[in-house]
């Protein structure tokens, strides 16, 4: 098992390095001279200052050398300064990430609470009305633009009835109730697409598991249908559902960008949009790289978790 995890981690590091190269090259493909940006409007007309800045930030070095220097800084947690706010990019990101994490966790929770039971019912009553209903819900979830649902929810629940706040964010530590109130609508919006994915995956995985021999054994033991479906079938199926959740992180990040924009939540996604709108290149660079790192690391963790949870894979990994 350790060997498997090590090999898997090795590939993750290779992918991480490639991703950092892509981000670095991408940043250099951006229009505009960073020295000009750093010098500010006054300094831009001063060639000596520009040269000094270039030397100081190593901009006069060949690209590979610049890459190594940049990577070294990044590994120490130094992503430079924001052009817009002059704050260290690392601090800005650190402020935003917890907000997005809480939003993501809430929507994942909603998605699982909706997706898993319906997926299970669709599989158990395959070909009957719960299955058709589940399929209709999945198709709707995949076809409806979630930001539009966000607008409608705001119009109905915030503007019309005033049940939930329309936008903004309150930290949990400041006011737990207000924090949750602010999170309800965004979490529903973000969780919607995800619940469709989970529903579909749970259904197909359950259909497969329910035809397994050990399910027949469980029935032969006289266990209740609940026990057969939940304790025996679902337990096995959830393992596969876990693995696809990691792959949905991209969906979650994309969703958080647009959700945070609609609800004006100061999270990671809003940071991305704000950075692009103001061409804040150091922030764009950091945010892009961190998104890739998050994706790679989460998928590595999911793989490892899967091996730990699943005794079968554990054995195969040991044999390999």
């Amino acid at each position: 098992m350790t060997a498997y995890v090590m090999r898997r981690a090795g590939w993750a590091i290779v992918t991480l390095l490639l991703a950092s190269v892509v981000v670095f090259i991408g940043a250099h493909a951006l229009p505009g001279d960073p020295a000009l940006a750093l010098a500010g409007q006054e300094g831009a007309r001063d060639p000596e200052l520009l040269a000094a800045i270039r030397e100081r930030y190593g901009l006069d070095q060949p690209l590979p050398a610049q890459y190594v220097a940049w990577l070294g800084q990044v590994l120490q947690g130094d992503f430079g300064q924001s052009i817009r706010t002059s704050l260290p990019v690392a601090d800005m990101v650190a402020d935003r990430v917890p907000v997005t994490l809480q939003l993501a966790a809430c929507s994942l929770l909603i998605a699982m609470l909706v997706g898993i039971p319906i997926g299970v019912l669709a599989a158990v009553y395959r070909g009957r009305w719960p299955d058709h209903l589940g399929n209709a819900l999945t198709l709707t979830g995949m076809s409806v633009p979630n930001f539009w649902v966000g607008l409608i929810l705001i119009a109905v629940f915030a503007v019309q009835f005033g049940i939930f706040p329309a936008s903004g964010f309150v930290a949990f530590a400041d006011d737990p109730v207000a924090n949750l109130q602010h999170l309800v609508l965004p979490s529903v919006v973000l969780g919607m697409g995800l619940s469709a994915v989970i529903m579909r995956q749970t259904r197909s995985s359950m259909v497969q598991t329910l035809s397994a021999d050990f399910i027949r054994t469980a029935r032969a033991k006289g266990l209740s249908e609940w026990s057969v479906v939940v304790r025996h079938a679902l337990r096995n199926s959830l393992l596969t559902v876990t693995t696809i959740l990691g792959l949905q992180l991209g969906l979650l990040i994309a969703g958080s960008v647009v959700t945070e924009q609609i609800f004006l939540i100061p999270g990671f996604g809003k940071l991305i949009i704000d950075a692009v709108a103001t061409r804040d290149y150091p922030v764009i660079q950091a945010v892009t790289l961190l998104a890739a790192v998050a994706y790679i690391v989460v998928n590595l963790l999911v793989d490892v978790l899967y091996t730990v949870l699943n005794p079968r894979v554990r054995l195969e990994a040991r044999a390999a």
Binding site: A212, D213, F214, R216, T217, A218, R219, A220, K221, G222, L223, S224, S227, H232, R235, N236, L239, L309, N310, P311, R312, L315
Partner: protein, 339 residues
């Protein structure tokens, strides 16, 4: 004495893409307490369907068309689902051909045994776990305490089948249905599992319905045997009679296609002789020319007629019913006179 199991004229049909298929056509069977009854036939003859319909585990595409199943005098077919579930695993247990896939891969085997005890015997978690270890010990698994915490993939095929047996007998049922219990196992392991089943019969007076295609297994195990063909029972009788003097041509061909060594071993075992070898009998019964017909309606002629070596006009027009012959029953207009 009430028989443990009485199957009376049972018919079971399947819906399929090509219309209705009759898997069981008017099949009757009796199992007395402590008796081992063999059910023999080629794959597709309906023997597994028979086992599953007794358990009430037929797939959704199947339905009972007629007849009855009584377990200890109670009619299973009219029982509400909840009551049937209470009988399953407690009054009747079942083990299957595939010990590899028949256990839940993500649950320790001790818990899988304990589960059935908690369900039917109201045992608590610790009591069930302790009893599970005893049961593992009973079915001959060494170091039972440690093994009860193992996952199925950590055990060999033979061990897994022992676990399956432990699950099936945990609540001391009166009847065990064993569907090809040794087919997927190594030859030596096969013999061990069969020994275990026999000793359970002797020790706890367990009745066993043994479904197999292997006449060698039947010879060493069964008191009585039923031969099935295309969803119908074609012959029945004490094992020794059937193996010595098969009356139905199908039985005769089955026996003839079994290698000579196995046959004599089988006969001597059936006669109470020493050491019946299961090994040589473990071949598929594929040597009879022709295919088993797929039945869509109750037969109107002899179902074996197309593959029978005799060509008699009567057999194509009228269905032979089971008639007493020797010590048993046979459904043939021209039973073999002698072997």
């Amino acid at each position: 004495m009430t028989p443990v199991l009485e199957v009376d004229g049972l018919s079971v049909g399947f819906r399929s893409d090509d219309g209705e298929v009759l898997a069981l056509d008017d099949v009757s069977l009796r199992v007395e307490p402590g008796e081992i009854v063999g059910v023999v036939g080629e794959s597709g003859c309906g023997k597994s369907t028979l086992g599953l319909s007794i358990m009430g585990l037929l797939p959704g595409s199947a339905s009972v068309r007629g007849g009855g199943v009584r377990l200890g005098g109670r009619d299973l077919l009219t029982l509400p689902p909840g009551e049937l579930r209470r009988l399953r695993g407690s009054e009747v247990g079942m083990i299957f051909q595939e010990p590899m896939s028949s256990l839940n891969p993500v649950m320790p085997v001790g818990r899988q045994i304990g589960e059935v005890l908690r369900r039917h015997r109201d045992l608590g978690r610790t009591a069930a776990a302790a009893r599970a270890v005893e049961l593992l010990d009973l079915v001959g698994i060494p170091d039972a305490g440690r093994r009860s915490r193992a996952y199925p993939h950590q055990l060999s095929g033979g061990m897994r089948q022992r676990v399956m047996i432990a699950i099936a007998i945990a609540c001391e049922p009166k009847l065990l249905i064993a569907d090809e219990p040794t087919t997927a196992l190594d030859v030596t392991v096969q013999a061990q599992i069969l020994d275990l089943l026999r000793s359970l019969r002797d020790r706890v007076d367990l009745a066993i319905m043994l479904i197999t295609h292997n006449l060698g297994v039947i010879a060493t195990m069964a008191d009585r045997v039923s031969i099935m063909y295309a969803g119908r029972k074609v012959e029945e009788g004490p094992t020794r009679d059937i193996l010595d003097t098969p009356r139905h041509p199908y039985t005769a061909r089955l026996l003839a296609s079994t290698p000579q060594a196995a046959r004599s071993a089988a006969v001597s075992a059936a006669a109470g002789g020493p050491g019946g070898s299961v090994e040589a009998g473990g071949r598929r019964l594929a040597e009879i020319p022709g295919r088993v017909p797929t039945m869509t309606a109750p037969a109107t002629a002899c179902t074996f007629q197309a593959r029978c070596h005799r060509d008699v006009d009567l057999c194509t027009r009228v269905r032979p019913e089971l008639e007493p012959a020797g010590g048993g029953l046979v459904a043939c207009f021209h039973p073999e006179e002698s072997w």
